[in-house]
């Protein structure tokens, strides 16, 4: 997003594969017969433009140019006995580039399809028809809305709420949700049942942490039977 502010050129090409494609095309040459001086010159021009703008892009270009130079230098050296090695060097860059070009082509094809609301139209109905009345304006929500809303809320919230969730925390939360699902179906479950199918060590730890958390939250009760010593978890 920040990139867009700098130059429209990114609309034309964005980075290494694009650049490589551009350079190869501009010279209307086989990638296998790359005129290195031309490439370097063009590359330096791009670098001049980019280095003041985006160091990431500049370094990406450097990789492209370095790879090209390496390929070229190989072709200038006397052919050794091990011809296969050379072949690998050549394909190393040609393969991803040709893959990228296939997708580029596919993207062009996709763009030629009849586009909804540009080439083809469907019947639309005024949104009031379906919205619940009396709840103010409604938004149709997707994941991005959730994230955006969460971001806004957190920006306005007090500092103590700004700690983001850790991955471990998420896993425990997921396990809690799963346990609630299980307990909603059958109101109790034995400890053994919860762990028997889990061979994975971290799963066991996460399940255990989830149970502790749920006990702390008073979501579940745990009881042990006197006779057989079976530990049972009860919901609610």
């Amino acid at each position: 997003m920040v990139d867009n502010e700098y130059c429209v050129r990114l609309e034309i090409f964005e980075g290494p594969m694009d650049l490589l494609f551009h350079l190869v095309r501009e010279n209307r040459l086989d990638i296998c017969e790359i005129p290195i001086s031309l490439i370097t010159k063009e590359y330096l021009e791009h670098l001049d433009l980019m280095k003041t703008i985006n160091i990431d892009l500049a370094s990406d270009f450097l990789i492209v140019a370095a790879t090209l130079i390496r390929i070229k230098s190989r072709t200038l050296l006397p052919v050794s006995e091990e011809g296969e090695e050379d072949e690998e060097e050549g394909t190393e860059i040609a393969r991803p580039l040709s893959e990228y070009l296939r997708f580029k082509k596919a993207a062009e094809t996709l763009a030629t399809r009849p586009l909804l609301d540009q080439d083809v139209f469907v019947r639309r109905f005024s949104p009031e028809d379906w919205t619940d009345k009396g709840h103010g304006p409604m938004v149709q929500v997707g994941i991005c809305d959730l994230i955006d809303v969460f971001k806004e809320i957190m920006e306005n919230a007090k500092p103590e709420y700004l700690v983001d969730l850790t991955r471990e925390g998420l896993s425990v939360k997921k396990r809690i949700a799963e346990l609630v699902d299980i307990l909603e179906k059958s109101s109790s479950i034995t400890f053994q049942e919860l762990f028997s199918s889990k061979t994975n060590r971290s799963e066991i730890v996460i399940t255990f942490l989830a149970i502790l958390e749920m006990v702390k939250m008073d979501m579940i009760r745990i009881a042990q039977q006197l006779q057989d010593g079976v530990v049972r978890i009860f919901y609610g």
């Binding site: 990789i63 709840h135 959730l146 809303v149 809320i153 709420y161 609630v180 008073d218 919901y235």
Partner: protein
């Protein structure tokens, strides 16, 4: 059917309201109003003579496709698959519950700074959240979490698939091993 009729048919098709001749003329300036009227009449004729699910009718000073009344029973059975629509406050409450679950109402209210009883009720009604337990605190407050329905609505495999803020904003956090090399 000539070309003009087909063009007018496409205009009537996409229009939410009845289209008057002069409205159509304003779009099809190349054709005179008489020609437009003739084309519309041919269309009306056509939809009347053939057995279609809808007909072209003159309504409120314009022309509009309308379904045949005899099929109204079937149409009423077709419920629009109602996408979940939430008010902004409900969305905020839902978001907090999704990211902070299991969570208490007072915690949600502390973050939002307003009473959330109404929005929580709405979300419970829409089955997007549920009560997952009670906390061992004075008053034994209810603990809330999201439901399976929530995952379905947001197309998530499970709650951990919920992307974090960081993941969508910071570049490269998803690819710890730099795979950008050619």
């Amino acid at each position: 059917m000539d070309n003009l009729s087909a063009i007018i048919e496409s205009l009537l098709f996409v229009s939410e309201e009845p289209l008057s001749i002069s409205k159509i003329h304003s779009v099809l300036k190349e054709f005179d109003k008489k020609k437009i009227r003739e084309a519309i009449e041919a269309l009306i004729e056509r939809y009347q003579s053939q057995e279609h699910g809808f007909t072209l009718k003159e309504v409120a000073g314009g022309f509009q496709f309308r379904t045949r009344p005899e099929y109204s029973e079937w149409i009423k059975r077709l419920k629009p698959s109602n996408p979940v629509r939430l008010s902004r406050p409900a969305l905020e409450t839902l978001t907090i519950i999704a990211y902070r679950q299991p969570v208490l109402r007072c915690e949600i209210e502390e973050i939002r700074g307003v009473d959330c009883g109404g929005t929580i009720r709405t979300l419970l009604e829409k089955k997007l959240i549920r009560v997952v337990g009670r906390k061992d605190l004075p008053g034994r407050p209810l603990i809330y979490g999201t439901t399976r329905q929530f995952l379905e609505v947001f197309d998530l495999k499970d709650i951990t698939a919920l992307p974090s803020l960081k993941e969508l904003e910071e570049p490269n956090i998803l690819c710890p091993n730099d795979s950008k090399s050619l």
